[in-house]
């Protein structure tokens, strides 16, 4: 710390150059933060997936429905602890851009299967007592200023092509930071009865989630489920919930590769910009480095001083950029519902800090070695 004023003073020597370099680092780290938040939004579900949960869908595609009667057969398969189903509702609230997920579910089964959704007991009781009742996640409730007791109209372009009305009886929270609280769930019996009236899709559901008794046996259970329904009109494909979420994300592409590619290009550019700044900074004060050596600074100390300077520059830019990215992403999903898990994870903030330090070391090492190898008598002549 006693050398800080020397390191800091050198950074302030060319204020414009340092500011521009700092700004370019800052922008790179804001971009890093945003890309991490987008990646989190797209693949975050994979990490949050339950290790003991499997998703069973139609073998052809997720759009194809499965018979409701499969549930009882699944529950009889050895290794299956419980099963429940969901169906994509695809409803629109007021405007198509107000996207959020809605699904009809069997309340008790659903809440037992997904303990990450926290619903107060009295609201659960109200849901069970209200046929048209629906529970909605905190984010969506706040977004549309919904409160318990409200009746909300949702138009479904898939199911009966009519406007459905739901009574909000509960607002759930997430048990973890990344838990999606943008969805709405309503009662399957209300949904299916309405379908019956028009004889459309009755007794058909979108997909099943099953809980296995032993996560270590999940692969065997998945095989047994698919064997159970093999050669039937609706064959199944069973996979871990994480793989299911990953498959969803992969529809866009290899997110990690895309994000990694963009960030690689950005940081390589920053490497060149900062490296150039540091090389110039050392070249223009060779005489001063000679003075430091003359008064007793060792080669190692001179190396450390230059490295400290480059690290201070990149870490300062990194911290400011990461902080700004944190503030900007803290406002939540910028798409209005398409990216419910959009946030900048703490893990990625720490990775960003690590990158800023590594960036400082890489950009500083060549100029620092140049400074370290200076011969004092030669350097003093260049004062």
């Amino acid at each position: 710390m006693k050398f800080f004023h020397l390191v800091w003073g050198n950074l302030k020597r060319r204020k414009l150059r340092t500011s521009l370099t700092l700004l370019s680092i800052l922008v790179a780290f804001v971009l890093f933060g945003f890309l991490c938040a987008i990646k989190q939004a797209l693949v975050g579900g994979v990490a949050l997936a339950g290790a003991d949960r499997l998703v069973v869908r139609h073998k052809v595609s997720l759009i194809q429905l499965l018979p409701e009667s499969y549930q009882a057969r699944m529950e009889r398969i050895p290794g299956v602890a419980a099963a429940t189903h969901q169906t994509w509702f695809g409803g629109i609230y007021q405007d198509p851009k107000n996207f959020f997920m809605q699904c009809p579910v069997v309340p008790e089964q659903f809440m037992a299967m997904f303990p990450e959704f926290i619903l107060p007991p009295e609201q659960m009781k109200a849901w069970l007592a209200t046929r048209t009742g629906a529970i909605v996640g905190r984010k969506t409730a706040e977004r549309f200023h919904w409160k318990i007791g409200d009746r909300v109209p949702i138009m479904s372009p898939i199911w009966l092509r009519k406007t459905w009305e739901f009574d909000i009886v509960g607002i759930f929270d997430g048990a973890k930071k990344g838990t999606d609280t943008t969805s709405m769930f309503f009662r399957y019996d209300y949904f299916d009865e309405a379908r019956k009236s028009q004889n459309f899709g009755t007794g058909q559901v979108g997909w099943y989630t099953i809980r296995v008794k032993d996560p270590a046996q999940a692969a065997d259970v998945a095989r047994r489920v698919d064997e159970e329904f093999a050669n039937s009109p609706a064959e199944t494909k069973t996979e871990p919930e994480g793989a299911f979420a990953q498959g969803f994300a992969n529809q866009i592409g290899n997110i990690a590769l895309i994000v990694g590619g963009i960030l690689g290009a950005v940081f390589f550019t920053i490497l060149l910009v900062t490296g150039s700044t540091m090389s110039q900074a050392v070249r223009e004060r060779i005489g001063e480095l000679g003075v430091l050596k003359a008064i007793g600074f060792t080669n190692g100390q001179v190396l450390a001083l230059v490295l400290a300077e480059s690290c201070l520059l990149t870490v300062l830019g990194g911290v400011l950029g990461l902080g700004l990215a944190w503030l900007l992403t803290a406002r939540g999903d910028p798409t209005g519902g398409m990216l419910p898990l959009f946030f900048f994870p703490v893990r990625d903030v720490l990775i960003g800090l690590g990158i800023s330090i590594v960036l400082g070391l890489i950009t500083g090492i060549l100029p620092a070695q140049q400074a370290m190898r200076l011969r004092v008598a030669d350097a003093l002549r260049r004062m």
Binding site: K2, L6, G9, G287, E288, V291, G296, T298, M383
Partner: protein
């Protein structure tokens, strides 16, 4: 290394020193078979024309360079065989430098410039500050402690340079043309200061100069010509 500051009564003892620089295949003999002794407490002026080897000799005494041949003992240590690392530590402990162009860090205030050599010691911040204040007081610049070099005159900057040179109380103060970039009045002030450091504080000083007016302030002057001492008149 020995802590004995003098060997055979001399603080600096140079014997049979040669210094050869190479420019391509050409050998340039800067110093030839040079021997010199400087007792502790002396104020010595090294005079000579440009290219006579004055600064090279000063660099050898200060451990900034090594001779091609011969031995250099300073403050009881043979320094021509020390490693770079050991030499740096030795310089920090024994040598104070004063340069012709002051060589202050423009990004640091006067007091932070003076503090630089103390950063290599184990002194606390408060102790360092006390030493800095003492050194600045000795050169009469306490009131300019918070000022940056660019806001100071050449004479003031050189006095800060001297304060930096003496702040660690070094065994030997080496001055390379300390008045070379100053007008006569400012130069005289610097010479007065160096004389006072020598007479009142017993500081051993070796000063390179080509100015007879400056060398007249020294107790002894030696002349260098083409890498050899021509005579050693005692004043």
């Amino acid at each position: 290394m020995s802590n004995n500051p003098a060997v055979n009564g001399a603080l600096v003892r140079i014997e049979g020193v040669e210094k050869i620089f190479h420019r391509g295949s050409e050998e340039i003999h800067v110093l030839s078979e040079l021997s010199l002794q400087v007792p502790a407490g002396e104020f010595l002026a090294l005079m000579g024309p440009s290219g006579s080897g004055k600064s090279t000799l000063l660099n050898l005494i200060g451990g900034l360079d090594r001779p091609t041949k011969g031995t250099v003992h300073v403050a009881g240590d043979r320094i021509d065989t020390l490693s770079d690392h050991a030499l740096a530590a030795w310089r920090a402990r024994h040598i104070g430098f004063v340069f012709q162009l002051y060589n202050l860090m423009p990004v640091l205030t006067a007091e932070r410039n003076v503090e630089l050599p103390l950063l290599l010691t184990h002194l606390s911040k408060a102790e360092r500050q006390k030493h800095v204040e003492t050194a600045l007081a000795m050169v009469g610049l306490s009131h300019r402690a918070k000022h940056y070099p660019r806001t100071m005159s050449g004479g003031e900057q050189q006095r800060v340079g001297i304060a930096r040179g003496i702040v660690t109380d070094p065994t030997l103060l080496l001055c390379d043309e300390p008045t070379g970039d100053l007008d006569r009045k400012a130069g005289d002030e610097i010479l007065n200061l160096l004389q006072a450091l020598n007479r009142e504080h017993g500081k051993t000083i070796i000063m390179v100069t080509h100015d007879p007016h400056a060398s007249a302030r020294a107790a002894r002057t030696v002349h260098l010509d083409k890498g050899q001492l021509t005579n050693e008149p005692v004043k």
